[in-house]
């Protein structure tokens, strides 16, 4: 047969669209929206080895491998709905013989005239080859990743070695860099006595607000200092006059007023040269200190903010405690009045009043603390001052720090400004806390000290009688070279942003101003003691109001037993009454130490209700965790002020533990208790 015979175009039928559809080199399907197959072409059926009857009416998803089915439902269906199509999804189809057909599948929605989706068109491409390439690619990528990892490790070790070898060199370069950075704003000048003129560089001209470009020709002394701040004129004159007589270096800081009204602080250091006993020339440097002065101001502000921040958390806790006591008492009064049990009302009224009184005292103390005055020394009983500060200090320290106060009996009075001494004490305690990131013990100790001639020499203080106030921590301690620097302004061992470095230097200033002295003893890894020595003063001690904090342990009736641990007595009383009304026996403890002892005993306890912030060395969460070692299923209800939500609220509450925020409504507490134990 020749080609002419067969290729007569007239006798060959044209390709029909149906034929193209049926025999195309890809699978075509039409399905309902949920995926039931309505139409399918032969190519697709042949690939899978299925008959049309077996396929029509089935959902296309059921022909996908299970993994592909999940991927379709979780990823493709959403996109198909939103976008109207998904393209080239790489999936396997299950063949009738149990094998798989690697495919790339497109879905497209079909819409009617109203825009409603009425079905899906599906295009399936055989991707056997492509999938094989992909596998190779993935393997290659893994290999490349492993190689890169190995290279990175090699680089790191190399880097370490290089780093070790060049550390000294780098340090030197850093010093140079730091020095260069520091001399921005530094200029040089020379003063010629005979002509009374200053010659200077451009930096100095700019710093002194002088007409630029004339530095090398020079300015008359009057011109040179024309913008000197009038308040500093006397000091500068004195220094300059002295410089013409005395040999040696001179130094003075003064202010220059610029035309825009801004002030520049200039530190001027100079050396005078003499010829035959006559001063002829003085040469020096001027350093722009403005930035430092502004920074100091900011630091002072920051330190104030820091102190406020230190106190806020603790105080919020305190006030929430007291509020819980007040509002709870009021609710109980309401309940008792409605029950006609008027005899009980007095007790709640007393409790509410007591809590309100303590809140007022706390406010008072806070206000007293924040009042910053010039020194107003009074004859002071340091023991009493320490006692009055103890609660505030405990708040600032947090529950992780145990505070021990050892007041010497018969302590001599000291002449000192009480609020400043309180500030100093709080500062020392905060330092102590920061030296103990994992908690520990702070001992505040007072003592009478007699310094004889020898002891006085040792301490570098005059002989005499002193009252000492020492703060000792069990923290990280400091090496001797650090101890030598701690009183320097801006010296801080704390990370950037956490300490201003002004605390101890301010304390030092205050103590020296009060005629006393500060001494530090520190051992690395053992802790630090800072002692303030104040001169003894015999006079009448100024009285101030005082208070005491009761605590401890009362068991009660029968039924379920609940252990209540809270350092606020009003809260304990309220809880005890609520629980009593529910028919529970109540055991109370005022701190984590006492609470844990009870928990570790064999007393039956059905529920532990505990504050999160607790004195006694552990917080409530830690106490509950410790208790669960011996009582694995112990049900625990934490009650907390907002400050410690972090302790329990970071998502680590275990089953059987719950949290309620103070202040709480009695009704809420009852509901919560009922949800935790059967009563």
């Amino acid at each position: 047969m020749t080609s002419t015979d067969a290729a007569d175009p007239m006798i060959l039928p044209e390709e029909t669209l149906d034929e193209l559809y049926d025999r195309a080199p890809c699978g075509y399907l039409t399905t309902t929206v949920p995926g039931e197959i309505i139409r399918v072409n032969t190519t697709f059926l042949e690939w899978l080895g299925l008959t049309r009857e077996a396929v029509v009416g089935r959902r296309l998803q059921s022909l996908l491998t299970p993994g592909a089915r999940i991927f379709y439902e979780t990823h493709c269906a959403l996109q198909l709905r939103r976008e109207g199509m998904v393209r080239q999804i790489s999936m396997d189809l299950s063949r009738a013989d149990g094998g798989k057909l690697p495919a790339l599948i497109d879905w497209r929605t079909l819409k009617n005239a109203e825009g409603e989706v009425i079905g899906l068109r599906v295009l399936v491409v055989n991707a056997t080859d492509r999938r094989a390439y992909e596998r190779e690619l993935v393997a290659e990528r893994e290999r490349a990743k492993a190689t890169a990892e190995a290279l990175r490790e090699l680089n790191e070790t190399l880097e370490n070695r290089v780093e070790q070898r060049t550390r000294e060199l780098r340090d030197t370069m850093d010093f140079a860099r730091l020095a260069l950075g520091a001399v921005g704003g530094v200029g040089v000048w020379t003063y010629d006595v005979a002509s009374d003129r200053f010659v200077c560089d451009d930096n100095i001209a700019a710093l002194y607000a002088l007409e630029p470009g004339r530095g090398s020709a020079g300015y008359s002394a009057a011109e040179f200092l024309q913008h000197l701040h009038p308040d500093d004129a006397v000091a500068l004159n004195t220094t300059m006059t002295r410089g013409l007589v005395d040999a040696g270096d001179l130094e003075l800081e003064y202010r220059i007023r610029h035309a825009d009204g801004s002030i520049r602080w200039v530190l001027s250091r100079g050396h005078t040269y003499f010829e035959d006993g006559v001063a002829v020339r003085r040469t020096g440097v001027g350093v722009d200190m403005t930035k430092q002065r502004l920074l100091e101001e900011q630091f002072r502000q920051a330190q104030k903010m820091e102190a406020v921040g230190q106190l806020t958390g603790g105080l919020a806790h305190d006030f929430n405690n007291l509020l819980a006591g007040i509002s709870g008492s009021l609710e109980m009064m309401e309940a008792r009045i409605s029950q006609g049990r008027l005899a009980d009302v007095d007790r709640y009224m007393g409790a509410a009043k007591g809590a309100a009184r303590r809140a007022a005292a706390l406010t008072h103390r806070l206000l007293a603390f924040s009042r910053r005055q010039t020194l107003d020394p009074k004859t002071t009983d340091v023991n009493r001052l320490v006692t009055s500060m103890q609660e505030l200090i405990q708040r600032a320290m947090g529950p992780g720090v145990v505070i021990e106060v050892v007041g010497a009996p018969g302590l001599w009075p000291a002449l000192v400004d009480p609020p400043q001494l309180e500030n100093a004490l709080l500062n020392l305690c905060i330092n102590a806390r920061d030296a103990m990131p994992d908690g520990g013990r702070v001992t505040i100790e007072t003592a009478n000290k007699v310094l004889d001639a020898q002891a006085a020499r040792q301490h570098d203080m005059p002989e005499g009688h002193y009252v000492s106030l020492s703060v000792t921590d069990t923290g990280v301690g400091m090496a001797p070279q650090l101890v030598a620097r701690v009183f320097e302004p801006f010296f801080t061992t704390k990370p950037i942003g956490e300490g201003t470095g002004l605390g101890l230097s301010m304390t030092y200033g205050f103590v020296r101003q009060s005629g006393g002295q500060i001494r530090i003893y520190s051992e690395v890894g053992r802790g630090t003691t800072v002692s303030i020595y104040l001169p003894r003063h015999d006079g009448e001690v100024i009285e101030d109001e005082d208070q005491a904090v009761p605590s401890v342990l009362v068991p009660a009736e029968e039924g379920k037993t609940v252990l209540v641990v809270d350092d606020e007595p009003t809260v304990r009383m309220l809880l005890a009454d609520i629980l009593g009304d529910l028919g529970c026996s109540v055991i109370e403890a005022a701190d984590s130490n006492a609470g844990l002892k009870i928990l570790q005993s064999d007393v039956s306890i059905d529920l532990l209700i505990t504050d999160v912030g607790l004195p006694g060395g552990m917080n409530g969460r830690q106490m509950a965790d410790a208790a669960r070692v011996s009582r694995p299923g112990l049900t625990v209800l934490f009650i907390t002020g907002y400050a410690e939500n972090a302790v329990v609220g970071h998502g680590h509450l275990e089953p059987g533990m719950a949290l309620l925020t103070k202040p709480f409504a009695v009704e809420t507490m009852v509901t919560r208790i009922r949800s935790m134990i059967e009563i």
Binding site: G67, R69, R81, R82, E83, M85, G651, L659
Partner: protein, 273 residues
């Protein structure tokens, strides 16, 4: 102060891309499942805004969550996701809120509710499954090999992800912003995170927790759900102490997207009861 700074840096609301709308009580938290993000609820959540405070969020690693918060070991357990929800609930001071979770998120919500009693008062589980892999008498619908198959499918598709699942230009005409948001969130899908989420989801087994969830719970089961078959829904219904079971008209695994009206109506009936 340090603690405050740390907490603000790790603010769970930012971390989980929390969106809050509506003001009334109760609060309803909608939680998306594997493969989606919070936009999965876009046709359901607005229906509740008039009568509830509606909270939407992305799980870490999905949508617009803070990917830098993704911690391999934390999110290798459903507990890790549940801890996030407890943190959200704490941050938002939820009490007796309604938790609506789809698929694996229903289980994450269950774990969260057990961890923080009182935060959630009612649960709605859309196509939940406490275990996807069959186990002795338990029918999960999948074998271990099926899950490996899924991981392969993910690999295969994410390798060319941007091309493979990028939105078709044709379909965008009606809603360009949403399409943009959606393709954004898909583009952000990190292949390793998708793989890890698939693994933690489909190899999870939280059956032990189911009988402990005492909260009133609505189970929404669809017709022929290929991921959570009806046996699983019935298992949940039989095991939960206090559940209502609704077999929906809708088909497929995502009725909140394929049949939003029916889903909304079922949830509203439950909340009203």
């Amino acid at each position: 102060m340090e603690e405050w700074v740390r907490r603000s840096l790790l603010n769970p609301l930012l971390r989980n891309n929390v969106l809050i709308s509506g003001q009334a009580e109760p609060t309803i938290v909608f939680s998306h499942g594997f493969g989606c993000d919070l936009s999965a609820w876009s046709e359901v959540a607005p229906a509740f805004e008039a009568e509830a405070r509606v909270i939407l969020f992305d799980h870490v690693g999905s949508g617009r969550s803070d990917i830098s918060a993704y911690d391999l070991s934390k999110y290798a357990r459903l507990d890790g996701y549940a801890e996030d929800i407890v943190e959200l609930a704490t941050e938002l001071a939820l009490e007796d809120a309604v938790f609506v979770g789809h698929s694996v998120a229903a289980m994450i919500g269950m774990l969260a509710a057990l961890k923080a009693p009182g935060r959630f008062g009612r649960m709605v589980m859309v196509c939940p499954s406490p275990r996807y892999v069959d186990d002795e008498d338990y029918v999960g619908g999948f074998s271990r090999a099926d899950i490996d198959d899924l991981l392969q499918v993910l690999d295969s598709n994410f390798m060319g992800w941007s091309r493979a699942v990028a939105p078709g230009i044709m379909g965008n005409v009606g809603r360009p912003e949403l399409a943009q948001a959606l393709s954004d969130s898909f583009c952000r899908t990190d292949p390793d995170i998708a793989r890890a989420f698939a693994r933690v989801t489909f190899l999870s087994d939280v059956r032990a927790a189911v009988p402990r969830l005492a909260l009133p719970t609505l189970i929404l089961q669809t017709q022929s759900d290929m991921i959570a078959p009806v046996e699983v829904g019935e298992y949940m219904h039989a095991t939960l102490p206090d559940s209502a079971f609704v077999l929906m008209e809708a088909t497929g695994h995502c009725p909140h997207m394929s049949a939003p009206e029916e889903t909304v109506a079922a949830i509203k009936r439950f909340l009203a009861s």
